[in-house]
């Protein structure tokens, strides 16, 4: 039972780290990045490639840096120029980007499933309450928790973090405060992308790598972000935990319906509160 819950936390943790990047980008730029899942996928692949030579930590670092750069480029070349347009334009452009990145991944790494081994230092299992649990999975939970904590501190105590929170709540007024919006934006989007990439890398030993993993995680993160309330960090955290548990218990008890549960939750939440549980920022 505990193992089930922990497994749910593992999945929830991965979802949280990738989804919170989406929340960051939405909170600041008021757009939904349809290429976000592809950033996760790139992180996984970059991590996979670097791990062979640079070890696990090298892979994590590489993925974060590469994706941060990709995020910065994304912000400057696409998100900023389109910010005055209807948000749906950015959705469609990032959707186009999703297609390009998926094709790119297929080109570089091929269509076949790739498997990344669990890093040696975290191999093996520990006994927990009589059951054996893989160490690496505990590491994943720890990383997710650290990200949540670190992000929380950053949002509450740093100048940029304060700006992001203010912007999430009221973008118009915040924009008038004289902060260099564009520079902050690059940093925030880069951070959001790096988080997606980080989530991808640490999930690589657990999932099978394929170019389509991006679209799968995209939909999952959409469900999280919508259920938690677009623009809400706390909401995303709660939703990720809930959906992680639902996903896992669903897989065990009702496998054929497991994939429907998060979607049903999304619809139910949207019926009850069209702006999601916590947020009201659409």
């Amino acid at each position: 039972m505990l193992v089930q819950i922990l497994n749910g936390l593992v999945y929830g943790g991965l979802l949280y780290v990738v989804s919170v990047g989406l929340v960051l980008i939405f909170g600041l730029r008021r757009i939904v990045n349809f290429a976000h899942g592809s950033l996760f996928m790139l992180g996984a692949y970059v991590g996979f490639s670097v791990a062979a030579m640079g070890g696990f930590w090298g892979a994590v670092l590489a993925a974060a840096v590469v994706l941060a750069i990709v995020g910065a480029v994304l912000d400057v070349s696409i998100l900023q120029p389109l910010q005055r347009e209807d948000p749906i334009v950015t959705v469609l452009v990032t959707f186009g980007l999703l297609l390009v990145l998926e094709d790119f991944a297929q080109f570089v790494w091929g269509k076949d499933y790739l498997k990344m081994p669990v890093p040696a230092m975290f191999a093996g299992s520990v006994p927990i309450l009589g059951e054996s649990f893989p160490i690496y999975r505990l590491v994943v939970i720890a990383v997710a928790a650290l990200v949540a904590l670190g992000l929380s501190i950053w949002l509450h105590f740093s100048k940029i973090g304060l700006y992001v929170r203010a912007s999430s709540a009221d973008p118009l007024t915040t924009a008038m405060q004289g902060v260099n919006t564009d520079r902050v934006s690059v940093i925030v989007v880069a951070l959001g992308a790096a988080l997606a990439g980080l989530s991808g890398t640490i999930s690589a030993p657990l999932l099978a790598l394929s170019p389509s993993m991006g679209s799968y995680i995209l939909i999952e993160s959409f469900i999280i972000v919508v259920v938690g309330g677009l623009g809400s960090f706390v909401g995303a955290f709660i939703a990720a935990i809930v959906i992680g548990q639902l996903h896992n218990f669903g897989l065990v008890y009702v496998p054929w319906a497991a994939t429907m549960i998060p979607f049903l939750l999304m619809v139910v939440v949207l019926i009850w509160r069209p702006t999601g549980i916590a947020g009201s920022h659409v």
Partner: protein
């Protein structure tokens, strides 16, 4: 500010009813289709054209939703696929007659769209898009996982009787005759949608799209009209699904995949969603470009992604919209 739903004024009171012209044009178009079906030598080309036309119908459904409701659906394959599976499953279990299965396939998606619509049309733009992606993919996952019901990942052949509604089924499986059938359906669908768009209902939904709040403050309920637009859009999409199933006599979860929705959406955007015929144009361009890409088709997904990005940056009204503007500029020097 770019508005992919376009910037051309709605039909004004001054324009006289051009119904006669429209009907005449439709008949001429169908006639042209007949000529194409009769004269194009290559069977391969005919097959391509038939597929393009069926996709054009799917794209038209997606485009109509953008035009009238101003929202972008990433999950229309759900309506398409449900129509396909409705026929396929009905035939597989021999529960109903084929004709009834076809009727069911045409009725079920719009009915579901209506019920879903009553709830989701109130959801704002981008969240709506996210929801449609999730809904569409949920249907795909269901088809993949529920093997006993849907046959799972592999899909299965659809056994059709020798005749449907008195018409020999072979007609639906020969590329030439099927092209004509699908083309005629496309023309009639576009005609019907144009008439709807010009009607008071059509204009009301455009007003609601423009300013939902003010529409309520001048006395209109806004949920029902928008749900009806979604219903109509789903109906058109279901027609495409029926034609696809009759033509290919095969169904698999691919018909429900988000890439199916995405392709239809891209066709609509490239062609120009503001025009009733824009998405169909986009579909034709899409198929011919894919054919021309030849060996590069391995990277078709990337190519189409780039095309979408370019169109959004440079030509948001789509190719059809651009052509229309050029035409209008010619007429008013």
């Amino acid at each position: 500010m770019t508005d992919i739903a376009g910037r051309q004024p709605a039909v004004t009171r001054s324009a006289p009813p051009r119904h006669a012209l429209a009907f005449g044009g439709a008949i001429a178009a169908i006639g042209a289709g007949a000529i194409v079906a009769a004269t194009v030598p290559s069977n391969l080309m005919m097959t391509l054209l038939t597929q393009a036309v069926i996709s054009a119908i799917l794209a038209t459904g997606v485009g109509f939703l953008i035009r009238q409701n101003g929202v972008v659906s990433f999950g229309h394959a759900a309506f398409y696929g449900i129509a396909c599976y409705a026929i396929a499953l009905a035939m597989r279990h021999g529960a109903v007659q084929a004709e009834l299965a076809i009727v069911l396939a045409l009725v079920l998606p719009p009915a579901l769209a209506f019920l879903l619509g009553l709830v989701i049309v109130r959801i704002p733009g981008v969240a709506f898009s996210m929801l449609t992606l999730a809904v569409g993919q949920a249907c795909y996952e269901f088809a993949m996982k529920a093997r006993q019901v849907t046959g799972g990942e592999d899909g299965f052949s659809v056994s059709l009787p020798p005749s449907l509604f008195g018409i020999p089924t072979a007609l639906f499986q020969d590329p030439r005759s099927m092209f004509l059938v699908s083309w005629s359906a496309l023309v009639l669908i576009m005609l019907a949608l144009a008439v709807t768009a010009a009607s008071p209902f059509g204009r009301l939904t455009v007003a609601i799209r423009e300013n939902e709040e003010r529409a309520r403050f001048i006395g209109y309920r806004t949920t029902l009209p928008r749900a009806l637009v979604l219903t109509l859009s789903a109906f058109v999409t279901a027609i495409a699904g029926v034609l696809f199933t009759l033509y290919n006599a095969f169904v698999s979860p691919d018909v429900l995949h988000w890439s199916q929705s995405g392709s239809a959406l891209i066709m609509a955007i490239i062609g120009g969603p503001r025009l009733i015929w824009g998405p169909a144009l986009g579909a034709i361009i899409f198929f011919f470009a894919k054919d021309l890409a030849g060996d590069a088709t391995e990277h078709w997904q990337g190519i189409i992604g780039v095309i979408l990005i370019v169109v959004m940056f440079m030509l948001p009204v789509g190719i059809g919209g651009a052509l229309t503007r050029l035409w209008q500029r010619r007429r008013t020097p």
